[in-house]
Amino acid sequence: MKLVVNGQEHVVDAPVGTSLASVLRERIGLTGTKIACNEGHCGACTVMIDGVPVLSCITLAHTVEGDVTTIEGLRDHPLVNAFVQADAVQCGFCTPGQVVSAAALVAANPEPSEEDIRHAMAGNICRCGTYPKIEEAILHWRD
């Protein structure tokens, strides 16, 4: 299987049924993508495929055709600083997934309203409850 991740091509040998999250973390060593529920319910494993946020824990790696972007590919995105400055991180385990979802949102809609943010970010569960700060970070992501 060939995967393009953050612009780099990887050739990976894994059995059919292996999730994209597992390939990213275990085979390619990109552990920024977290697995928290491993069944598509929490958003911690969010990555982009061709710019669209998907859940890598229930994406079969062999079915991936587009370019994968993980948090490692977004490390210099202005959102990172926005999250840091807004204190939009507590334990941080959900945060990479939050940043990926947010990056897709601002790419499609550079000036999202609070409602836009709440709609687009509702699939990323944060048990620490950093949501108000996440909202603030996204509202001011370019500042």
Partner: protein, 273 residues
Amino acid sequence: MDLLQPSSLEDVDGGLVVHGGTEVVPLLRDGILHADTLVDVRNVVPRGISGGVIGAGTTLAELEVEPQIPAALREACRLAASPQLRNMSSLGGNLLQSTRCWYWRLKYPCRLHGGDRCHAAEGEHREHAIFGNDFCASAHPSDVAAALLALDARLRTSRRELAVADLYRLPDEGNRRTTTLEPGELILEVELPQVESSAYLKAMDRKRWSFPQVGVAVARTGGGTRIALAGVAPVPWLLAGPEELDRATPLERTAWKVDVARALAGRALAQLP
């Protein structure tokens, strides 16, 4: 396990069909579905909108921002699942999703799994059915299905054309399935009749990312008004009229859903011009 990625319908022959994978992948892992061969049908099932016809491979995310489609369907897509799941899941796949009944998901030997009792009816059923629930008390989780049922949509499959209503069947002793789709049969397109107006209202226990406690879709055509409900029966439920709610058969802990459905049905109808 093998993976096939056919490029034409003729090449689809056996195996477990997967599209977005949001339902099939977890069920495979849980051992509720089994497969030697997975068939990724994304290159086979049409995607996109053309007039009143929607490719069954169109994602819910694409539909939620689509101004051409009736409000009920758009809203059902917008309020379904989570953003990532809407990005992944196809319209056709959504119609075929299984119940969220915890007994079924946790593989209790319930009637839907071929067993001889409904664990929910006798056990924890506060999120379960108020109609069609004497054999199996599960609730159908598809917002989209209720919308399409109210819109009286028609489906074109790889083998036939049928009304959405005919896709579903209540499970019974002789047949535990909740759809009439045959093995290997694929939903290809959804055809929407002209409607004058429509709406979808959804009761959730959080404002987003919740399966419907009760979803109410209404659609008005020259011929009349159709009401369909999500989350209230083992299949999407077509309601003859709000008064049919008086004939609901709630379980001990699901009577509240009747009240919610009544209120939402009234509001949805009032929204129609």
